[in-house]
Symmetry: C2
Subunit: 455 residues, 2 copies
């Protein structure tokens, strides 16, 4: 059972692997990794220096090394691909599915790509790869593999089984057999269970399922993920503009897409610019975090200017300073709540989504309700517990109410605008909206104070 | 093709469906929904009133109605389940997989559960359900279905095909056949492709794959999701403490788990307490947002107290007020960045994760580096552009540096502590950390000012 193998890939094993690399004990490397899962070996190589990882990849047999290379983390994979010779890469790519091979190729400069392709042994594979290179990364075309089993509508079950046998090497996981007409137009699917349970002379036309979900080559990967989740699919066929079957996307690739997307959203929401992890270098971590911190600083410095404008009034009424954090923090919290709800709606892409007008009307109602509650709580606390006069309580309460309204509006509008102009809307839940709301909140607060207190 | 069906489920169709419900035109309902996908019909019913949705469910045939009921959104499903008679629910549950049936049962009070189970027609199903009810929701046991195909090690391929035929109705998607010994202990798996390509007298023992990944019944669903992603699995067998095969989890359920988890994390990070969507009622939205806003308000009011303590110094040096937002905003931004990186590491659960000590050392280094850069930028701006004296520039710069250090530390520690005591660590990226950092930042700022400016 797997548990045993996972145990072997411990920190202790990592040390003995390192030693065996140093003394070039290829036997130990091959034997100890024999039968291990490629994903486990990849996790292990991610921990090694790139030269050590390359040494191990070269000692393993091509088919296993190809599987491991695909599973490496982004950084290790990129380095490994850059270091390898074109012939070496080609011999590994001969053992990969077309979509994985293209992911590897995309990490090379154009000139090297052509060289690697020219070294490929299997001509069908290089044709597949050349076809896939045309599509954009992040689209159905960029995500799909060419390897799949298709059966003509007029075939019998036994003819289909022959096709499965012929392709057994190329298509590791079949899931469904796609049914096409003579022009390769996708008509439907038939599951392996049905193939097993039907007699060998049954015609595919009599057992296939016609109503299936397919996606066009240009569809965005996030939308595909949502479709596969909604319809409980483990694979989805991809068709071109003429409904011709051109590839399929499997759920394992979708799980990776979802994970990347979630990390990207989290980074956008928390103001981290690069795809970093805690285990990256101090310098890299620092660099990924500085840009948004600096933008926050610029916001803070502008905030100082705004407060400076009202310095005279502040001098007369020093208590105003005490409630600055209350105003800015609430503005930030409200803005982030609003934008995250919009981001969630944008991700779901329902055809029944409410109109923009109705949404804003609702945002306004929620904001008025929350603003009233919060304003009232603050007014009462300031007057009855902190002992300020009612006039001052009204200033802070009213300013807070206005800030809740404005921040709700900004928090709702910003992600919608970002999405329209093609920027990840999750960005709007991050430092951007907080900084903008701080400035807006300060201005509103002091303007309300000036008017109500006659400063 | 599916595109046609999706089009039919438009807003216009929704209107005609509503009309046909009112005039009880069952023919129209049955015919127009015939062949539609259950997930699409469910999206449609989610838009209707609960009485209308129930009417449609009752008009559809039991098998299709069962599929649709499973796909309804949480709220609609809950309402529908409460409204239905026990016999009615039982007749739908006879057509469900055991895991889906248990999800439905879990929405009933204990007494009703027993009643529904007693009405089930299939005795095997009720045994399955009673078994599954023992496990906690969110664990492998709570997520798995009992429906699966298993083959004894000593069977031949033709015996296995007979078993597939016998179970064809119960197990919709097979993926793998699990291989067990006479004591039901899980030994490995064999794919359908291999079954198709092997001769009927081949022994399972000769073709099965022994090294497979399985999970124990008590494993947490998030961890299972990560395992299935890492090893590219579409289904995973679940075993009990004696390695006996007790169920399997399929990837469609995992996609739902991931989605729920992501929404939960986003809500935790943005201070929303309930599982709400933009389309929910104004009152519900308002209620979900108020708790954290109120906590933010309490933080702001405490902040006012802190500033109040330093009012005398503030009176002498009014410019101090201007830089309050700079300090609090930076503290918040740094804290959120730190905690989100920790949350990401916690989610990955790598056995090669760095030790707590090394992580904190690194956090400190990154904080010092960023603190120096930000403090220096602020010092220079305040002195050379805003024209304050160097002493005051040093106060703000040094306070900012200290706040960056403290916020990094808090942002790193909080999610680790929350995770240890069983609270979703994503909470630490939300209003909690911002509010705490605001207070901490204010205190540090004024203490530094008092010392350096002799206030």
């Amino acid at each position: 059972m797997e548990t045993v193998k996972v145990f072997e890939l411990s920190k202790e094993y990592l040390e003995s692997l390192r030693e065996s690399i140093e003394i070039e004990d290829n036997n130990f490397i091959q034997q100890s990794l024999d039968g291990a899962n490629e994903a486990d070996v990849a996790s292990l190589l991610d921990e090694l220096d790139i030269e050590e990882a390359l040494y191990v990849l070269r000692v393993l047999d091509h088919e296993f090394a190809a599987d491991v290379l695909i599973e490496l983390d982004e950084e290790t994979q990129f380095k490994a691909v850059q270091e390898m010779e074109s012939t070496e890469l080609a011999s590994l790519m001969d053992h990969m599915d077309s979509d994985d091979a293209v992911d590897i190729l995309n990490q090379l400069v154009l000139k090297d790509r052509e060289e690697v392709i020219s070294y490929l042994q299997e001509k069908e594979k290089s044709a597949h790869i050349l076809d896939l290179l045309r599509y954009e990364e992040g689209s159905a075309g960029g995500l799909m593999a060419k390897e799949l089993i298709k059966a003509n509508l007029n075939w019998t079950v036994i003819q289909t089984i022959d096709e499965i046998r012929r392709q057994a090497e190329n298509v590791e996981k079949i899931y469904s057999i796609y049914v096409v007409d003579n022009k390769e137009k996708l008509l439907g699917r038939v599951g392996l269970k049905k193939i097993i349970l039907s007699s060998s002379q049954t015609r595919i036309a009599d057992i296939y399922e016609g109503d299936i979900v397919s996606v066009p080559t240009y569809m965005d990967e996030e939308e595909i993920a949502e479709i596969m989740r909604k319809y409980d699919l483990e694979a989805i066929p991809v068709v071109n503009a003429k409904d011709k079957l051109v590839g399929r996307i499997t759920v394992d690739d979708i799980l990776d897409v979802i994970r990347e997307q979630t990390e990207e959203d989290m980074h956008a929401m928390t103001g981290i610019t690069d795809d970093v992890e805690e285990s990256d270098s101090v310098f890299r971590l620092s660099k990924a975090r500085l840009p948004w911190l600096l933008i926050g600083i610029i916001g803070g410095l502008l905030g100082a200017k705004i407060i400076g404008v009202f310095e005279e009034g502040l001098n007369k009424y020093i208590a105003l300073a005490s409630f600055i954090p209350l105003i800015t923090a609430t503005g930030g919290n409200v803005g982030i709540q609003s934008s995250s709800l919009v981001v969630q709606t944008l991700a779901a892409k329902s055809i029944f989504a409410e109109s923009i007008g109705r949404r804003f009307a609702k945002v306004l109602l929620v904001a008025i309700l929350n603003g009233l509650v919060l304003g009232f709580v603050v007014l009462c606390t300031i007057v009855f517990i902190y002992g300020y006069d009612v006039g001052f309580g009204l200033v802070v309460g009213l300013a807070l109410f206005s800030v809740v309204l404005l921040a709700s509006f900004m928090g709702t509008l910003t992600p919608i605008v970002l999405d329209k102009i093609g920027i990840n809307p999750a960005m709007a839940s991050g430092p951007f909206i907080t900084t903008a709301n701080d400035l807006l909140g300060l201005a509103v607060y002091f303007l309300v104070a000036m008017m109500l207190l006659n400063l």
